[in-house]
C-alpha cells in the first residue's frame, strides 16, 4: 500500500547544515596563507521510514527504517555524509618552510540516511 508522506516542515528531515570555520576567528590567519577557513558542514535530521526512499538513502537505511517500524527497539536510520570533498591548506611553519597539505574527505557536500 502507498505510504502517506508526512505533512509538516521538512526542516527536521536529514539534510546538510553549513558551518564555516574561519582561520581568522581561530587566530591562525598569520600562519595559514590560504584558504581563509574551511567548511565544517555536518548532517543532521530525521530519517523517517516514509521518506527513506527519498532522502538520498542507501539500501540498508531503508531496511533499518523498516525494521524500526516493526520493532522500535531497532535503532532508526541516521543522517550521515554521503559525499565528501577534500581541502588543501597552504601555510608556513616555524622553520620558515612553506607547506602545502592536502586533507581527504574534509567537507560534507551531501547528506543522506544511512
Amino acid at each position: 500500500a502507498a505510504i502517506p508522506v508526512p505533512k509538516g516542515s521538512c526542516k527536521n528531515l536529514c539534510h546538510r547544515h553549513q558551518l564555516f570555520v574561519s582561520f581568522q576567528d581561530l587566530g591562525w590567519h598569520k600562519w595559514v596563507i590560504a584558504p581563509k577557513g574551511f567548511m565544517a558542514n555536518y548532517c543532521h535530521g530525521d530519517c523517517p521510514f516514509s521518506m527513506a526512499t527519498y532522502l538520498n538513502s542507501s539500501n540498508y537505511a531503508f531496511m533499518q527504517a523498516l525494521m524500526h517500524v516493526v520493532d522500535p527497539k531497532v535503532p532508526k536510520a541516521i543522517c550521515i555524509p554521503t559525499k565528501l570533498s577534500p581541502i588543501s591548506m597552504l601555510y608556513q611553519d616555524n622553520d620558515e618552510n612553506v607547506i602545502l597539505r592536502h586533507y581527504e574527505d574534509m567537507v560534507v557536500d551531501e547528506c543522506g540516511c544511512g
Binding site: 570555520v21 581561530l26 587566530g27 591562525w28 598569520k30 600562519w31 596563507i33 590560504a34 584558504p35 538520498n56 538513502s57 542507501s58 539500501n59 537505511a61 554521503t82 559525499k83 565528501l84 570533498s85 577534500p86 588543501s88 591548506m89 597552504l90 601555510y91 608556513q92 611553519d93 616555524n94 622553520d95 620558515e96 618552510n97 612553506v98 607547506i99 602545502l100 597539505r101 592536502h102 586533507y103 581527504e104 574527505d105 557536500d109 551531501e110 543522506g112 544511512g114
Partner: protein, 227 residues
C-alpha cells in the same frame, strides 16, 4: 572558542600553531598547485601531484639557510662562486613516505641578452657535523656535475636518495657544497665578462628544496557509493 584548538590541530595532524618570524613569499610551484586544486573540485586525485608526477599529500618547500664561502673576486681559475647550502630537515617526520626531494637552483630570470659564458655546476654533500663553526666546509661525495651554457632560469637536482639517507640516519639537516665554475671560451669569438656573470649569479642565485611525502593514513579512497 567552544572547541579546543589543540583538538583541531591534532585533527589536522599539526603539532602546534606556528608563529613565523618572517613571512616567506609563496613559492610559485606551490601556489600553482594550490590554485589548480581549488579550481579542480572534488573529482581529482589529490594524493597525486600531477604537476610533479609523484604521489604525495604533503609538499614542503624548505628555504636554503646557508652562506657564500668566498667573498673575494672570482678567482683566476674560473671558480665563480662557492656556497654552502643548508636545509633544516627537522620538519620532515618519518611517518610519511618520501616520494620526492628536488633541489632547485634558480640562476636568475631568463633573458635574451648577456647570456654569459658556459658554467659548470658542481654539487657535493658536506658530511661533516657542526659545519656552522667552520669558515669553509669541505665538499664530500659529489652528487652532480652539470655544464650549463648561458646560465639562467632554474636547475633541478633529484636528491631523494640523499634526503632519504639523512632521514634514515635521523640527521635533521642537509649540508651541500655548491661550486659554479665559469668557462671562458676563447674560440667562440664572443668576449664574455666572467666577472659580471659571476656577480650576477651571486646576486640572483636562490636555492630551495621541495620535499613531497605521502601519509597513507590520509589518503584513502572513499568507499561508500550512493544508492
Amino acid at each position: 572558542s567552544k572547541f579546543q584548538e589543540h583538538d583541531i590541530l591534532q585533527f589536522l595532524d599539526l603539532e602546534k600553531t606556528s608563529s613565523p618570524r618572517r613571512f616567506q613569499p609563496v613559492p610559485r610551484i606551490l601556489r600553482k598547485i594550490f590554485q589548480a586544486r581549488e579550481a579542480g573540485g572534488a573529482s581529482q586525485d589529490l594524493c597525486y601531484v600531477k604537476e610533479l608526477g609523484v604521489r604525495g599529500n604533503l609538499l614542503r618547500l624548505l628555504p636554503d639557510q646557508g652562506f657564500f664561502l668566498n667573498a673575494q673576486e672570482p678567482s683566476r681559475d674560473g671558480s665563480c662562486l662557492q656556497k654552502f647550502l643548508y636545509f633544516n630537515l627537522s620538519a620532515i617526520k618519518e611517518k610519511g613516505k618520501l616520494t620526492m626531494a628536488r633541489l632547485t637552483l634558480d640562476l636568475g630570470p631568463r633573458s635574451y641578452y648577456n647570456l654569459g659564458p658556459e658554467v659548470v655546476v658542481v654539487l657535493s654533500v658536506v658530511e661533516e657535523r657542526g659545519v656552522w663553526r667552520r669558515p669553509h666546509p669541505k665538499p664530500g661525495r659529489m652528487l652532480a656535475l652539470q655544464s650549463v651554457p648561458g646560465p639562467q632560469g632554474p636547475l633541478h637536482f633529484n636528491l631523494k636518495d640523499v634526503v632519504k639517507d639523512r632521514n634514515s640516519n635521523r640527521l635533521k639537516s642537509l649540508g651541500l657544497y655548491l661550486e659554479i665554475l665559469a668557462k671562458e671560451d676563447r674560440y667562440s669569438g664572443e668576449h664574455f665578462q666572467v666577472e659580471n656573470t659571476c656577480l650576477r649569479l651571486k646576486r640572483s642565485l636562490h636555492a630551495s628544496l621541495l620535499v613531497v611525502t605521502l601519509n597513507p593514513d590520509h589518503c584513502r579512497p572513499s568507499s561508500r557509493k550512493r544508492r
